[in-house]
């Protein structure tokens, strides 16, 4: 098992393997996005309270879920890199940050696009919104810390520690709507009894969430490949690859 992990996670092998995965991930992501958009914008009925404005949900909620998911993935990869010194895990952690920041930004922007017509304000200093904003700064912190340290192995360890410390913010974001009396609405889907949402809304929402998951892996592999090339630029496999490309 460990042998298998070390083989798959070795930079030359992973660089090649991920190159073969990328077109598939791209195709699946695009198909799921199209299906989700069709379901969300055309099939799903109008909300009886919020009218058509609720259609922002198909972007907002999956983006917000992904902002947490990517953070956890980043922290776990960072921890694996810290403990076992696996280069691939270090790269996965670092490369997750800009993608996670993108999802967080998207959740915040679409949130304010939804807040303005529904609450009458683009922004309120409410527990959910504030903790999500803190998440954005954590991602930015990871990115700038990594960029600031020249030795990438050292930088990876620093980044992993920062990411792990920031994990405390994740349950705060998730439970913020329950712990505090917030303007943000409570959970509609992730609760134990039946979700209080029409199936024609729920299905496209789940399709979009799945599309975003595939998108994350796709965008992540694109970044990890660049990172691996840069880190391993003086190794034999990169030189071999360059010679092959030159033909």
């Amino acid at each position: 098992m460990m042998k298998f992990i070390h083989k798959t996670a070795s930079p030359p092998y992973f660089y090649q393997l991920s190159g073969r995965w990328i077109p598939w991930l791209a195709g699946i992501t695009v198909l799921l996005l199209l299906a989700g958009l069709y379901g969300g914008l055309i099939v799903a009925p109008t909300d009886y309270q919020q009218g058509e404005s609720y259609r922002i949900i198909f972007i907002h909620v999956p983006a917000a879920w992904m902002s947490l998911f990517v953070y956890i993935a980043m922290a776990v990869a960072g921890a694996i890199g810290l403990i076992w010194r696996i280069k691939l895990a270090e790269s996965v952690a670092v490369c997750s940050a800009p993608i996670g920041a993108g999802f967080t930004l998207l959740a915040l922007i679409t949130g304010s696009m939804w807040g303005k017509p529904m609450w009458g304000a683009w922004w309120v200093w409410d527990a959910r919104l504030t903790s999500e904003l803190l998440l954005l700064f954590l991602y930015f912190g990871v990115m700038s810390l990594y960029a600031a340290i020249a030795d990438k192995r050292v930088a990876s360890r620093a980044v992993a520690l920062l990411a792990l410390v920031g994990v405390v913010n994740i349950p705060v974001i998730h439970y913020s709507v329950e712990w505090w009396n917030t303007l943000h609405q409570g959970p509609t889907i992730a609760k134990f009894d039946k979700p209080s949402i029409d199936l024609r809304m729920l299905i496209p929402l789940l399709i979009m969430a799945t599309a975003f998951k595939f998108y994350y892996v796709w965008a992540l592999l694109l970044r990890v490949r660049v990172e691996l090339l840069e880190r391993e630029r003086n190794t034999q496999w990169v030189k071999l690859l360059l010679k092959q490309l030159k033909g």
């Binding site: 914008l41 055309i42 109008t46 009218g51 058509e52 404005s53 259609r55 922002i56 972007i59 907002h60 983006a63 800009p98 993608i99 993108g102 999802f103 930004l105 998207l106 922007i109 679409t110 696009m113 939804w114 303005k116 017509p117 998108y215 796709w218 965008a219 694109l222 970044r223 490949r225 660049v226 090339l229 840069e230 630029r233 990169v238 030189k239 360059l242 010679k243 490309l245 030159k246």
Partner: protein, 54 residues
């Protein structure tokens, strides 16, 4: 059809949200692709220069 684009009066908010999503999602694909190309180019140049010095 125009009713679809009108979004019950919320067109600005709804379509702006989808537009922002498109921009962010596309940027996170295009940027690493460009970086990859640039990286291969720089590394190839470096390798060729090193070979000439030999």
């Amino acid at each position: 059809m125009s009713e679809f684009f009108h979004m019950g009066g919320y067109a600005l908010y709804v379509w702006l949200s989808y537009a922002v999503a498109a921009v962010i999602l596309i940027a996170n694909i295009v940027i690493p692709k460009l970086q990859h190309k640039r990286m291969l180019k720089t590394l190839t140049k470096k390798m060729l220069r090193a070979e000439q010095l030999k």
